[in-house]
Symmetry: C2
Subunit: 206 residues, 2 copies
Amino acid sequence: MARRSDHTREELWWLAIDASRKIVEKEGLRGLRARQIARDIGYTIGTLYNLFEDLDDLTMHMNGETLDQLMEACSKVELTQNPTMDLERLVHCYLSFTHENPKLWNAVFEHKLPEDRPVPEWFSEKVSKLLAIIESALAPILSDRSETEIHQHARVLWMSLFGMTVLEGSGRLQDGETSFMLAKTLIKTYVDGLKNGQDSSVGNGL
Amino acid sequence: MARRSDHTREELWWLAIDASRKIVEKEGLRGLRARQIARDIGYTIGTLYNLFEDLDDLTMHMNGETLDQLMEACSKVELTQNPTMDLERLVHCYLSFTHENPKLWNAVFEHKLPEDRPVPEWFSEKVSKLLAIIESALAPILSDRSETEIHQHARVLWMSLFGMTVLEGSGRLQDGETSFMLAKTLIKTYVDGLKNGQDSSVGNGL
DNA sequence: GCTTGAAATTGAGCGGCGATCAATTTATTT
DNA sequence: AAATAAATTGATCGCCGCTCAATTTCAAGC
């Protein structure tokens, strides 16, 4: 019973992604099953595999959509040229998102492609664009540094925040500890370090 | 052909854990299969399920062993009462370990128990002990701050380092980027920030 | 040494999974 | 109307985690 005109290919694609998001947000990445997705969108497995290469591919796109939504939220933060304030606002936005979509966010880093399979370029690009926001917030205090250096500081901050959300997501924060507090401490101390630190050269060795 | 006296229960337990470690270090957590473990240790699936509740249980114990080994490595770092040196050595030890056992380390946080299943207390304890080492090494740097403050800064740094190892382990660093250089940047900048933080005019001996 | 009960071990089997693909149905083009 | 192309189906494959009745072994009591 092929129903070619029920939905366009793109509509179908989004039906599958949205269904997957709902499943993951409810049951976590473990609960994501091809048969369930197909059932939820009213098609069969075969159609799913006509849309996506496999479950890894589908999961990557689902995670890509999560990154897009985070990007959209972060884009709304107005930058004021005050790095500490800008970063705190950005981080607040970031952490709010991860709190509101814990399982979808978890899925972004929980999911791992097989080793022989490279991360698609379009996915890396989404991450890069998020990083670019942080870089632009940092830029005012790093105007005298190289692009490479700015880039790395942004990545260090990003990875640090990432560590907090990972540990928070797996319930390893202490009582009374929140990623908001931790992130605020990180940002303030790190920005202080950038302002006052002498040449913090970015070696490429070791 | 039950062979009760080939191995004690404990020997068998370690055979299984070691076999699992080998599989994971070679193929990643994805490659961990009950049938393969059983084959590798010369027993059948049934015996494996006599030793462990299920694959989640086995994986938790395998990860526990990884934490123990990291703990052992970090314990060997001699503390010199020179906070900066101790810190650098500890971080180096920590990163060396995660660098030498990338897939085993990755498995520690990649693995997620089903939501209705709490992390065993013995596992949380291993993590806490590891954290305590790192915290104690970081604490002297912050000797002029309140205990709460010391504690939080130590944890912020720990989580940041953690984020880097996570991203490195899952192959999400850029070309030429290593957790060693990222950690160096993080620590230098962060310590600079601690030295020159605006709400603490007391310098220290660094 | 024999019996007996407990523990260890086996492996066929269950249900479910991701993935495949020949066959079928539909839409579009000619 | 026929031919072509695309979408859709679902039976099927091989593998998975896991179960459990049956079997084998060991050790203790006699």
